[in-house]
Symmetry: C3
Subunit: 426 residues, 3 copies
């Protein structure tokens, strides 16, 4: 049922024209914020501002854009599908021959029905995207091109939501809202994130603090980190980039450069215990904002969770990446459930230390059968196994890996031990 | 021939009623001590004394115990088999119906001829153990139950033997004497230990100090360590629990929590070199006193050596664990030989450091063929191989693992190098 | 073509009688030095001088040596093949029966046509080497034995060539010139070394300093290191012993004791990337001067590069180890090419550190396609991959191993990043 709610939210956001800057970005944040209580905080950067090796680009706005064929028909109409316009196209109003127009058109011969997604953020120019089937129908003659766009000194924004927990240690979620109408490689991440925020807001006795970033991809994290790196580095113990996470593909993990961050270890253990399939990608397969979070000089412990990874499905970066065949309520529901489970795994992280030397006497606490007879005795109890690792050097995850349980399962036992004052949390 | 002597000792100890306290424990120590010269030292703990998370229980003594059937026949006679009485049964003298008696009886339907071994140390009550075949013969009627036992404020003991060597570094052996008449899971450990003490007493120029503990299982090490942990931790470099070590099963090792203690590494290397089969169990398979020695806050480098491990053979914890079919002179002999070999491996541990830079000139010391001809030359000699590792960071075992020899074999070469002043022992 | 030049050089050196001391050693150095500009520097050690555990032996010179058969025929003529004389044979002039002579003869029954190579450096005596086929023809009678040799208080030498680079960090090459007329196990190493020196002299902008040692095997490195160890240890970051490197066998590496020296890691990565076969030998298979460089108290990071390793080919240490069937221009050329490639790998070693935080903006530097469209975009560029590892902890080799490239390939990208001031070399 939450899968349908997430899918509805995605449908609502679908028509909005998003780019790395511009009104669509803010409008998207506004609609996302309708789904949870915490107010999204805006971080605003001015055009021309320096951010590490980068410069905040001009802001971009589009009124309308189309091509008129020699017989007066409007094609590549931005109003019908905002993928038709190459992102950050300059304003243009001119006539030109088909031959010259062809140099400004992008299509995919292998996918004749798909309108490709093309941008040109950092080099001025203009262009249109068209399905190859339509392109082939174009006849010689004079074409009128109209792009009513604006490139101006404005701003670039990052949206942030912080949900406090008992600990100042933070878990970072990062997802992007900078693509026009595409479903898996855009809406799946922020829509699920909105519902995770709602879940966390309602989670009683949160242990960790959660920070969600809604960014324009690449330039967003760079801008944000250029101002906040020290603070983020101080608190963030683990982070996750959410991308392409609404389809029905296998759960997948793009590993960090060091391949040993907390989330990676939790996720890998979890799938091993559950005997479910997890697809692993290495750092060299990366492609979303884990690139920035893991870059030299940043080096945050961030990995990426995805279903069918960017660049791995044919609909990627085309008009075929839609809310009908690619992203479904079922896919969104499964991803949401997985991420909620992951949050519970994270929430169960503690570093327990025995308050006693030697094994505890479980019997006098009613934690152990008093009369031992061979057939009823069985093996040493899991409670004793887990206590035996409580030497202050192993956390929930370390014990889970050693014992062969999930973190959540280990936590149940730890809480019993703690309630009997046999361990404390460091 | 030593196998038979150990078997004789086990036969002598067989009829004694042992429990975690009481006169049988001390009588057993007395008989064990007849086999070696060093006097066993007693560590005595009073009922009610605190020991880490535990409390020293009441002392326990049994005069006699039996059940009288409606037709006046005595069954479950403690005098005939001391397994009939549930350990730490309270005194009782009453008549009751078969129906009520059934609730106090323990038997094993799957092993109809076995009397099970049952105890109730830490919860008051009483009960009898009976073979399932006998139990099924019981007819309705009034049964007389007689238990003449005593539970009183007394003492619990641990027996200790220390055999000094050149070094203050100690090897700990721990074995238990707290079970009534059972062979593998009781007598095999202490009887072999007695003969190992005898062996060590006669060993010329012992390098290491050896400490043997004869304990009541679980509560024994806890009590002992609660008084002596600091001293033990200072000197003990490795330890071994001996249990179920008199049958003919494969040699087995229950690994410590860290899986890298000295004894484990020596034993694993030894079996690898000898190309013999060694069965490995992990920390989660533990069940004897390695539980206490390796528990949080104790963390001594102790593993367990066994043949067919507790809980792994059908006769375990029943009257079928006997000195005829389970524990034999051959089984005891093989285990003894193995442990003597292990002591020799331990005794060969040194950390050698070269007194020279570069390779030694073996030739002028008569350690190398003077005339080298291809067919007689062969490979670099083992002596040079071993010298090449004498950089002060590798001990006998490290070199043994790298070169593919046993520690004892490496030591032979080290002694040659040392006698020529090419190395010294750090 | 260089293979032929090296082969010609080996032919020129072939007839010279070399031993660990004596005029042949110096004559060999003189001829080697004709192939490069840097003057070979001599390190001279006097007979009786102490060198670690060793003593510099007497110097040795041979005028002639032969045996006269009962029918007046000269056999085992040193003038015809200098392998006939056991190395370091004392002068002798006497007649003796065949029976007594036999005790002074060495032959190989399994290789009836081979004259074996035998020495007796450190024990006085004399002997002759003869093919087993010739030996079997000897008839009873009186044999005249003539050895005109000299053993005297003289000197032992080591030749050294140093070629400076930008860095004081040094790469050590060591090869030996102490065997009489044998090709693979003698001439292949020094002849290739001479041409590597020539190559390095002509290499523009050398990064590292290279030190070549031409030594008598075993005693040479010991003598040299006994005087220069501190200096060598300060600068040498990696070293290579060249031996048996002129045949057509597979490229082979004798690993150091620690198995992780720079050269080993470079070579193993290189062959992995090139998908070529590399034969690995462990430290226990060693047999040339890696023995001394890796010995306790020396511990230099030196491994050995070879083709068919000493002791692994039937012609080893016999007259069959020749410049016709064993060592060929082709074999020498391939080894030379490999070693030049290895030098380029070494020269590419840097430790890069990003000058920026986050990913660089490749686009504005013209390093990245400006317009991204799915079909042209492909994966993250190798340039970004490599930059992502430039955190100051990885050197060229570490990155090469992680990315799956050779060091030389990684260096190309590093230089681009450096020219754009995106990284610096630590």
């Amino acid at each position: 049922v939450i899968g349908s709610q997430i899918h509805n939210l995605a449908n609502k956001l679908w028509p909005i024209y998003r780019s790395i800057t511009g009104p669509g970005f803010l409008k998207t944040l506004e609609i996302l914020n309708e789904n949870f209580e915490t107010q999204i905080e805006l971080h605003t950067f001015r055009t021309g501002e320096k951010a590490f090796d980068w410069t905040i680009p001009l802001e971009y706005e589009v009124e309308d854009a189309w091509i008129q064929t020699p017989d007066g028909k409007k094609i590549c109409n931005f109003g019908e599908n905002n993928l038709h316009l190459v992102g950050y196209s300059e304003p243009v109003d001119e006539s030109l021959s088909l031959e010259k127009l062809q140099r400004k058109l992008f299509s995919l011969p292998d996918q004749p029905d798909a309108i490709p997604y093309v941008t040109s953020y950092y080099e001025r120019g203009w262009g249109f995207c068209i399905s190859d089937r339509e392109r082939k129908k174009l006849v010689a003659g004079e074409y009128k091109v109209h792009i009513n766009s604006r490139l101006f000194e404005g701003e670039l924004n990052v949206g942030e939501v912080k949900i406090k927990g008992n600990s100042k240690k933070e878990i970072l979620f990062s997802t992007y809202i900078c693509h026009p109408s595409m479903a898996n490689n855009e809406l799946s991440g922020p829509c699920i994130a909105a519902f995770l925020i709602k879940y966390l807001e309602q989670l009683v006795d949160r242990e960790y603090t959660y920070r969600f970033l809604f960014v324009p991809e690449t330039i967003g994290p760079i801008a944000y980190l250029s101002r906040n790196l020290k603070r983020i580095r101080k608190h963030v113990i683990a982070g996750i980039v959410l991308t392409c996470i609404g389809d029905n593909g296998p759960f997948s993990l793009v590993q960090s450069r060091r391949e040993n961050t907390l989330i990676e270890r939790i996720v890998i253990n979890y799938f091993k215990i559950k005997k479910e399939n997890l697809k692993l990608y290495s750092w060299v397969d990366r492609g979303s904002d884990e690139r920035q979070y893991g870059a030299p000089g940043i080096e945050l412990p961030v990995c990426t969770l995805t279903r069918t990874k960017y660049r791995e499905y044919p609909e990627y970066h085309t008009s075929l990446d839609d809310l009908f065949t690619v992203v479904t309520p079922e896919g969104l529901q499964k991803s949401y459930d997985w991420l909620v489970q992951l949050i519970l795994e994270i929430e169960s992280l503690r570093t327990p230390k025995s308050c006693i030397k030697g094994e505890p006497q479980l019997g006098r606490r009613g934690l152990y059968k008093q009369v031992s007879i061979k057939s009823e005795y069985g093996n040493i109890s899991t409670l004793l196994h887990i206590h035996s690792y409580c030497d202050g050097t192993n956390n929930t995850l370390d014990i889970a890996i050693k014992i062969g349980l999930t973190c959540t399962e280990v936590k149940t036992y730890l809480d019993i031990l703690k309630s009997h004052k046999l361990i404390k949390y460091c």
